[in-house]
């Protein structure tokens, strides 16, 4: 019984997060401006981090936790660097 419940919950959650990732990437590709793309990348990072946490519940493996922590750190650094670039890049111009 609990296997069935958990299986369906995990599957639905993974599908929902996959759709969320697709929506974020579509916005990242469409833009229209650079700040939209950066925010799209950030949303994609957060969604994939959550996706990996759900993967961890699916497999029962705590290794996924470390991967998602690394993705979160990388996403934060990338977004901060890109946001800085958006400001500085225009200053020089």
């Amino acid at each position: 019984m609990s296997v069935t419940i958990l299986f369906w919950a995990v599957t639905i959650a993974q599908i929902a997060l996959a759709i969320a990732m697709v929506l974020a990437s579509v916005r990242m590709i469409k833009g229209p401006r650079a700040q939209d793309r950066v925010l799209g990348l950030d949303t994609l990072y957060v969604n994939s981090m959550l996706q990996l946490l759900v993967f961890g519940i699916r497999t029962g493996n705590t290794l996924y936790f470390e991967i998602s922590l690394i993705i979160g750190v990388l996403g934060f650094v990338a977004t901060v660097a890109l946001a800085k670039f958006l400001m500085r890049g225009e200053v020089i111009e």
Binding site: M1, S2, V3, I5, L6, F7, W8, A9, V10, I12, A13, Q14, A16, L17, I19, A20, M21, L23, A24, V26, R27, R33, A34, Q35, D36, V38, L39, G40, D42, T43, V46, N47, M49, L50, L53, V54, G56, I57, R58, T59, G60, T62, F65, S68, L69, G72, V73, F76, T79, V80, A83, K84, L86, M87, E90
Partner: protein, 141 residues
């Protein structure tokens, strides 16, 4: 998913509910992010996923592994703390960068650089929102 057979029913239900709430919030946030019309509206949508979306999934993971390993597994809390601390930084930097870019382009949608000091005694709140005419009906199309 064989490990789930060791999970008692109440734990499975709790994990399932938290997972669905978290994933649902993340999906709604990304949907709003995809759908909304202007950048300053879009900046609000992903916070759904980063606030309670992340918190719910972290809680689901914590419950699942704590029950499975029959000890308190709390390391997922780190992800929650990390996301809560970092999201404001990224969003503030992005908001400021966007404002800076819009101002340097002379975009009429954003408020001008600053109001003179004397006018601050009576805070002028209506000015900005009135000066954003096509902002007002955002999701009409």
């Amino acid at each position: 998913m064989n490990h789930a057979a060791h999970l008692p029913l109440w734990a499975a239900l709790l994990v399932a509910i938290f997972l669905l709430i978290g994933a649902g919030l993340a999906l709604i946030g990304s949907f709003g992010f995809y759908r909304l019309r202007n950048f300053y509206d879009r900046i609000h949508a992903p916070t759904l996923g980063t606030s309670w979306g992340t918190a719910a999934i972290v809680m689901a993971s914590m419950i699942c592994f704590s029950v499975l390993q029959s000890r308190l597994v709390l390391h997922e809390l780190l992800i929650g703390v990390f996301v809560t601390v970092t999201t404001p930084v990224t969003l503030m930097l992005l908001g400021r960068a966007a404002l800076y870019r819009d101002r340097s382009e002379g975009n009429p949608e954003v408020p001008a650089i600053s109001t003179p000091k004397g006018r601050l005694d009576k805070p002028q709140l209506t000015k900005e929102s009135e000066s954003v005419p096509h902002n007002s009906k955002n999701m009409n199309d």
